[in-house]
Symmetry: C2
C-alpha cells in the first residue's frame, strides 16, 4: 500500500472538530450536548438570505464567474464604502468561505518553506491551512494572565528571518476576543513595510466589538495598500456559516490576478450561497442590532458565570464571540473528552474546544479551552451548570492554589 | 512590494476560463456568444434539486459535518450499490465539487516534488491542482490522429521514477471522450500494484457512454481497493455545476482519515448544495434519460458538422460531452481570441477552449480546441455556422494539404 503524504501526516486534527465522534456518541446515549466548541451561532440566518434561497428563479444552477458573481462583488464594494473602506469590485475575489480565502492567499503569497508570523493563541485552522500549503507558522505568544494583550512589536521583530513572508492577524480575534487598536495596527504596518511582508487581516467578526472598543480595519491604515489582503465572510455577520461564502480583497492587482488563477482552477464558489449572500447584504438594521445585542448579552453572562467557578479564569473578551478560559484541570483536552464520554448532568453535557490546538506550542494551552458563546442564554445557563458540576466531579481536577486564585481575582470582572 | 510566490507565478491560466474577459467584451458589443468552452450544459438542473432548494426548511444555514452530511453520504452509498460499487457511507467524503476532491487527494497522497502520471490531453485543471500542490505532472501523450487511443502501458512504464506516486485518469475522458475498457483498467491496475502507486479515477461523466461502450468503474477492478480514490460530482449528472458538490471515496480508511483532517480545516462543504444534491440523487429516470438522449443527439450533430468543414478533424468521442478538434489554423488560441475580439456573424460568435492548455507540452495542442457540446441543437447549429464562417475568414487559416486531408478522411464518420 502506498504511503500517505508527509504533509497529510503533519496535518493537525482540528481542535474544534476532533471531538465530534465523541459528541455523536454522547447524543446516541440520549444526552443533550451544548456545543460551545464551534462558532456556529443558534441565531437565525438573515431572513433576506433565507428568502433569496426559497425564491430561486434559475432553472439551471450554473457555474458562476471564477472571481465570484459580479453583482455580489459590486454589492460588497458598496458595503465597504459604508464603513469607509475603499474597494472597487475588481479588488474583491469571492471564495468558498474565509477558509478558502486564507488558503488561496497563502498559496499566492508564500512558497513552500516560507514563514508566516501569527500571534498565538490563534484560530487553529491557520495552522492547518499553513500545513496544507507547506508554510511554516512562527508564533508570537500572548498569555491569558495579561488578558491576551498583544505582545510588544519587538517580539514580532525578533521572529523575522529571511524566510518571513507574511503576518496574519484575526481582528477582532478568534479565540481571544482581542480588538486591535489603531496604534497596534500602525505598529504592525511599520514592521510589515520595513521588512517588505504581506499583511493578512482576517476581519470576519468586525461588527462584534464591545465596551466601547472601536473597530479599525487594516484597510483604514495608510501605506499598507499593496501589502494588505483583507479576509472576510458572511458566515458570522448573517449567521450563515453553511453558505460557505467569503472573500479576499486587496488593492494589489498583481496579487489578485495571481489568486484568480487558483480560483479558475476550482471553477467558482457555491452559487446558491452567493445568491443568498447578496441578499444578506441588504439585511435590515434591526436584524444586525438583534445579532449584536444577543452576543453582548451572552458575553456578559458567560464571563460572569465562568469567573464565578472556583479556579476558573476568563479574561473579558472585547470582540467576536469566543473566549479562552483557564480551567483547574490537569489537561483540558482530557477534560473535554471526559465531559463527552463520562459525564452528564440531567442528561446534558458540554462540548469544548481544547486550548492546546490554538497554540503552536501545544503545552501552553494545556489548561485552557476555547468557549464559543453561540447559544441562547437559556442554553448557556444549562451549559454553565453542566460545566461547573463537571469541573467539580472531574478526577483530574487540580485544587486551585491560593496564589493563583489571587492573581486571577485581580483580573476578573 | 513583496513578491508573489513562485507557485503563484507557475499557476497556469485556465484555458477554459482565460478568455472570459474577451467574451464579456464581445457581449458588451452586442454579440451573442455561444459558449462551447466550458462544461456548462444548458440542460435544466434536476427538478428534485431545484425543489429542495426552494423548500428549504432550516432557519439557520449551519455548518455541516466536515465529512459532509451523513444523510447525503448514505444516499451516495445506496446509489453506488445500484451500479455495483461497494462503498459504505464512511468510505465517502463530500467535497466542494470534484475540484476540491482532487486537491485534497493530491495533498493526502503526494508530497511536494512527487510525480503524478496523466494521459494527455488531460482535463486542464489537473495541471493547475498539481501546480498548486507543488506536484509534478508527467504526461503520457495520446494523439488526435489515432482518435486519442490510450497509449500502450509500456509508455506509462517508461515514465515511472522513484518520485512517481500516483496515476490519474478521467473516465469517460474530458477532453477526449475516451471510455476506458476493462482491459485498459486492468493493465493500469497491474502497473499501479507493481509500483505501489495511488490510482485516482475521476468518473464524473460515468452516465455518458455512447455507441454501446460499456462503462467500467475503477471500483469494479479487483485488487485496486487500497490504492484507489474515486472522484465524483453531481455537477454533470444533474446539470448542477453551481452547487459545488462532489466527493472522494476510497476503501483505504487511513487515506480517508488523513483527507478528513484537510476537510476539518475548511469546516464543511456548502450546505444548500448538499441538500440539493441529496434530492438530486432521487431524480426520476425520465430526467436522466432526457439528459442522456440530449447529449447523444448533440454529439452526433456536432461531430458531423465539424467534420464537414474543410480541413477540420474531429474524432468520434465515445463518452462525456467534449471533443478535441483539429482546426486548419496557425494557432488555435489566437483563433479563439480572434473569434471573440474580431469576428462575428449576424451578431453571434463562438467561445472555444484552446487545446494547448490540455497538454503538458503546449505545442502539441496548438492546432486543437476543445468543444463542449453543452448547448441545444438549435444553438449548436448557429455556433457551427459561426465557426465555419470564422474559419474561412480567419487570417491565420492554413490551406489544408491534400495529404493531411486524406489521413483525416480515414478517421471521420
Amino acid at each position: 500500500m502506498p504511503e500517505i503524504s508527509k504533509r497529510g501526516n503533519r496535518m493537525p486534527n482540528s481542535p474544534i472538530r476532533k471531538l465530534v465522534p465523541l459528541a455523536e456518541e454522547a447524543i446516541r446515549k440520549g444526552n443533550v450536548v451544548y456545543r460551545l466548541n464551534i462558532g456556529q451561532p443558534d441565531i437565525p440566518t438573515s431572513p433576506n438570505a433565507i428568502e433569496a434561497i426559497r425564491s430561486l428563479a434559475a432553472k439551471v444552477v450554473e457555474y458562476g464567474h471564477s472571481a465570484g458573481n459580479e453583482s455580489l462583488r459590486r454589492k460588497f464594494a458598496v458595503f465597504y464604502k459604508s464603513i469607509h473602506i475603499d474597494l472597487d469590485y475588481s479588488d474583491i475575489l469571492i471564495t468558498t468561505g474565509a477558509s478558502e480565502a486564507i488558503t488561496l492567499t497563502l498559496l499566492t503569497c508564500l512558497n513552500a518553506g516560507d514563514e508566516i508570523i501569527v500571534p498565538e493563541p490563534f484560530y487553529a485552522n491557520y495552522f492547518s491551512f499553513a500545513t496544507a500549503s507547506d508554510v511554516v507558522v512562527i508564533p508570537v505568544t500572548s498569555n491569558i494572565e495579561s488578558g491576551f494583550a498583544l505582545p510588544p512589536i519587538s517580539e514580532f521583530e525578533k521572529k523575522i528571518t529571511p524566510r518571513t513572508k507574511a503576518i496574519i492577524i484575526c481582528n477582532p480575534n478568534n479565540p481571544t476576543g482581542h480588538v486591535y487598536s489603531r496604534k497596534e495596527l500602525e505598529q504592525l504596518r511599520d514592521l510589515v513595510l520595513k521588512h517588505d511582508l504581506f499583511f493578512i487581516s482576517d476581519e470576519v467578526y468586525r461588527e462584534l466589538c464591545y465596551d466601547g472598543e472601536r473597530f479599525t480595519s487594516a484597510m483604514h491604515i495608510e501605506g499598507l495598500e499593496k501589502n494588505l489582503i483583507l479576509i472576510d465572510s458572511v458566515s458570522k455577520r448573517y449567521s450563515a456559516t453553511g453558505l460557505r461564502v467569503g472573500l479576499m480583497a486587496s488593492k494589489n492587482q498583481a496579487l489578485l490576478q495571481t489568486a484568480l488563477k487558483f480560483c479558475q482552477a476550482r471553477l467558482c464558489p457555491p452559487n446558491i450561497g452567493q445568491i443568498a449572500a447578496e441578499a444578506a447584504l441588504d439585511s435590515p438594521q434591526e436584524y444586525l442590532d438583534m445579532v449584536y445585542s444577543e452576543f453582548l448579552k451572552r458575553r456578559n453572562f458567560i464571563v460572569k458565570e465562568l469567573n464565578s467557578m472556583e479556579g476558573v479564569f476568563c479574561p473579558v473578551p472585547k470582540g467576536a464571540f469566543y473566549t479562552m478560559v483557564k480551567l483547574p484541570v490537569d489537561d483540558a483536552e482530557k477534560f473535554a473528552m471526559w465531559m463527552l464520554q463520562d459525564f452528564s448532568y440531567d442528561n446534558q453535557t458540554v462540548m469544548l474546544a481544547p486550548g492546546s490546538g490554538f497554540y503552536f506550542n501545544t503545552d501552553l494551552g494545556k489548561q485552557e479551552v476555547r468557549v464559543a458563546y453561540v447559544l441562547n442564554i437559556d442554553d448557556l445557563r444549562k451549559a454553565m451548570e453542566c460545566l461547573k458540576r463537571g469541573l467539580l466531579a472531574y478526577p483530574g481536577r487540580l485544587i486551585p492554589g491560593a496564589t493563583l486564585a489571587g492573581v486571577m481575582n485581580g483580573k476578573i470582572l
